[in-house]
Every structure is written in C-alpha cells, then in structure tokens.
Symmetry: C2
Subunit: 283 residues, 2 copies
C-alpha cells in the first residue's frame, strides 16, 4: 500500500531519459504503470510537466515509442508523463473481453457502478494520485502542469482541464472523442461505468462541461479529415466547437487534410502541440 515507484526500464533519449514505472495505486486499488520522459534540463533544475493520455487499446508505451515528442520536450525542457489507459488484471469479469471496454479503455472517469467501481477510478488517479506521485518523485514545478491526449485520451485531457481549470495551465487534443454522450463509444462506456441514468454522464462530457467552465488558455485540437472514427461520428469535434463558440471559449480547431486517426497523424503535428503547451508552461 506504499507509494513506492517500481522502476521497470530506462532508456537514454535526446540526452534525457525515458523511464517506465509501476506502483500500487490507492485510487484504483491495483498496480498501475506509467512512462515518463525527463528532459536533460531536469538534471539541473525543476521542470514543468505535460501529461499525455492515450487512446483505446493503448498502454503507457505507445506515446513514448511512436509520437516523437521527446525531441521537443528536450528542446523546451518539459517533462512528459504518459500513464496506462486503465487498471489491468483486476479480476473483474469480462475486463479483457472487449477492446473498447475494461482493460485499455478506462475513459478517464471514476466508475460508480458494479463491477467497475472498485478499480476503475481513472479520473481520480489521473488528476490527483498521479500528479502527487510525480511531484513527490521527480524534479518538477508543481504549479506548471498541462495535459493533452489522443482520441479517448484527447477527451480525457479536455475533461481533466475543464474540471480543474486551476490545475492545468493548458490543454490540447488529437482527434478527441469530443462529445461522448452523443456517440456509440460514449454510450457503451458511460453505461458500463456510470450506469443507465444519462443525467450522470454530463459531468464527464467535454461538450457539456464547456458550457459551464471556460479556460483562460486557447484549447488546441487537431482533427484529420480521413479519420474513419470521425467519419463514423465517434468524435464529433463540431459539437465541441459549437459549444465553445457559444461559451466564448478560445478554440483552435485545425482540420488536417488527408490525415487519419493513427500515430502518423500525431507525430506530424506533435511539434505544434509541444510548442502550444510551452507557451503556458515556460512563461
């Protein structure tokens, strides 16, 4: 039950360090894993923190191996933290049966109904437990935190920022599930984790949240025009854009012609996102 980090592996990268850890999570009541990139600047001083939340089926590895963010984190002196996308090996019946529910699909909410509620407390884990752990264990500036993510994790980043406008200085997303209460993924996951009563879903829906809370920073979103999940109406960035406009939220929604939902899209625009966050983290 201790907060001890268990190092799993470590790699030199752009003169900084990629490292993988696991630890017992009190909020999820199970072992959780995350990856970090410590830029070279962290050897001399404390650095700002940028959290990255991954999409469905991902682990803490995908972003570190595929996005190409380390070179910009090294240039800008920013620590990256990429957690796993769900509890795993919890023993919950059916946790590994579906690629878009259970393992790899935590959706960054605190589950309230059985059987998920005992372990699937990802919102608390991401916004409270993990930041406390990072601040305790690494040379970071606790008051300089931002967050971004992809798909399910793009939505996770939006809700974490909108529900904690003082905690995160900026937020951005690649192809986020922008209005989950109106798409099939949201319907499946919210029903499982939050129950049938749809009135409970709004507190985890970015498009609903933006009606109540606006951020001082500009929200940046990249959406590929050839993204099949966009075409299947799983992402609905227009809903978020309309709600943002109505609420006077500054939003930079960029349509990326020809790009799909893959890490090839993310790597193509990661530089812009890193520079976006650096404006807020390094000022």
């Amino acid at each position: 039950m201790s907060n001890t980090l268990r190092p799993k592996s470590e790699y030199r990268c752009f003169d900084g360090t990629v490292a993988y850890y696991s630890h017992y999570s009190a909020s999820c009541d199970c072992e959780m894993s995350f990856a970090v990139y410590l830029p070279p600047q962290a050897q001399l001083k404390s650095v700002p923190i940028l959290y990255y939340l991954s999409g469905l089926t991902c682990t803490e590895e995908n972003f570190m191996t595929k996005a190409g963010a380390q070179q910009y984190a090294a240039e800008l002196g920013i620590m990256l933290v990429a957690p796993d996308t769900s509890p795993r090996n919890t023993g919950i019946p059916g946790e590994d049966e579906s690629w878009d529910l259970g393992s790899g699909a935590g959706f960054y909410v605190d589950a309230t109904v059985k059987p998920w509620q005992k372990h699937y407390q990802m919102y608390t884990y991401i916004t409270k437990e993990l930041p406390a752990l990072i601040i305790q264990n690494f040379p970071v500036q606790a008051d300089k935190q931002s967050i971004f993510g992809h798909s399910m994790g793009g939505h996770g980043a939006l809700i974490c920022a909108l529900k904690n406008p003082e905690q995160y200085l900026s937020v951005s997303a690649f192809a986020p599930i922008a209005a989950p209460i109106n798409c099939p993924w949201g319907d499946k996951l919210f029903t499982a984790y939050l129950g049938e009563d749809k009135s409970k879903w709004a507190e985890y829906d970015a498009t609903k949240l933006i009606e109540q809370t606006q951020l001082k920073s500009t929200i940046m979103i990249d959406q590929g025009t050839e993204d099949t999940f966009y075409q299947q109406k799983q992402l609905l960035p227009e809903n978020f854009a309309t709600a943002s406009k109505k609420a006077n939220q500054k939003l930079n929604l960029r349509w990326q012609t020809g790009y799909d939902h893959s890490y090839f899209m993310i790597s193509s625009f990661i530089k812009d996102h890193m520079e976006h966050h650096s404006i807020y983290l390094n000022n």
Copy 2:
C-alpha cells in the same frame, strides 16, 4: 510470378505518405513485404531513395513507427524504403523457432545451404530485386540511392554498400554487427545460411570487405556505450574501425554516451543520419 505490388495500407505523414506493400519476390520465392515513405516533393518530381535495413526480430513496420525519420525525409525530399528482415511462412522446418535465426533474421545474405537456400536470398532481394521494383513503381532518381540500418541491418547496409560501391552513394549504421565472423550471432547465422566452411563467410563480413573495397563517401556509425549487445561483444565496432583505418576508409564512428541498442537511440540521432545521406543524395 508477376512484379505486382499489393498495397496493404497507407497513412498521411508530414504531408507525404507512409505506405505498406507486399509482392511476390522471385529471388526469395515467396511473398515479401516492405514499407515506404514518399515525401511531399514526390508529388512534383522524382526523389532520391534511402533504404533502411532493420535488426533482428523486426518487420517492415518498426522503423516507420519508431524512428521518427519521416519529418527529415519530408524536409530533405528523400524517399525511405524499409523492407522486412526475412522471408516468412516459407514452410522451412524451424523457421519460427529461434528469434535470431530464420524469420526476422535473414541477415541480408544469400543462403547457400539447405534448408535455407531456397528462400533466404536476402542479399539479392535487397540489392537487385527491391531496387528494380522501387524504380519501376515510384517517382525516384534511380542513380541516387543510399542505405542505412540498425544492428543486423546496420551490418546489412555496410555489406550492401561495400559490395556495390557504384550503386549506393552513402552508407551509415546504428550499432551495426560490424564483424559477424567474430561474434556469436554471426557464427550461428553464417553456419546456418552459408555452411561450416568459414572461408565462405568473409564475403559477407563488413570488416573483411573494407580491406578490399573503400568507399568515396564517409561511413557514419553511431554506437551507444550502454548497449548490452556491444558489451556482450556481438557488435565489435572497434574491429571495423581498425580495418577502416588500415584501409584509409573515412569513418565517422561516434560513441554515444549512455545510449543503448533501442529505437530511443535511433530516434535521438536519426536527424544526423538523414542529413549525412542528404549530402550525397541531394548534391
């Protein structure tokens, strides 16, 4: 038996295109796969070609998803071609039994002994059949070809360049198996593919080849100091350096402090390698 390319998938990346293909290979007498990156410049004109040969266990995917080369290929207007590392599903007994022999371990030689010689003709595939296929199917400058690679593929790149000094304008390698006749991997693979008679091995050993052939271009090699395979004497870059010096071959062997054998090392120095090849490909 035709030369038809079968497209498998395609992704927009840095305004160019990552694409995966398979095709029947006459030299390997089986279906082979490769990946390409076509930079945006290829929409308007023919571009130079840079081949990348991967290491043990890799497929045509690892380099495209992990190395971060596309951004520099897009900047420099260079096509990338990353072939699979061996024939697969050939039915050769034991092809999938060992991670460092058979599938994923073609070693870029033409096998001369049973049971491998029927399909494991990787040297001919890489230096003749694949270039002909690329020239036939893509907007490229046939007289502008270079080659690089990692580990087993770093060695593959060195032998391809040293045995064909007119075909490849430049060569570089990340942590190559630089003197295979003197390391355990080479011993195992050459015995299997070339037979017990060690006098036959020299024609596929970069350190032996450099005694006979020197290149006009500078050979560039990056080697991490914390690479466990280096420490286990599988790589032996010093042997290659000594032979190069003796032969008056220009060699830029860079010791990268703290780096290991992973793609985190490759991605950290890919920019330097791309710029190295651009000097020869874009002049």
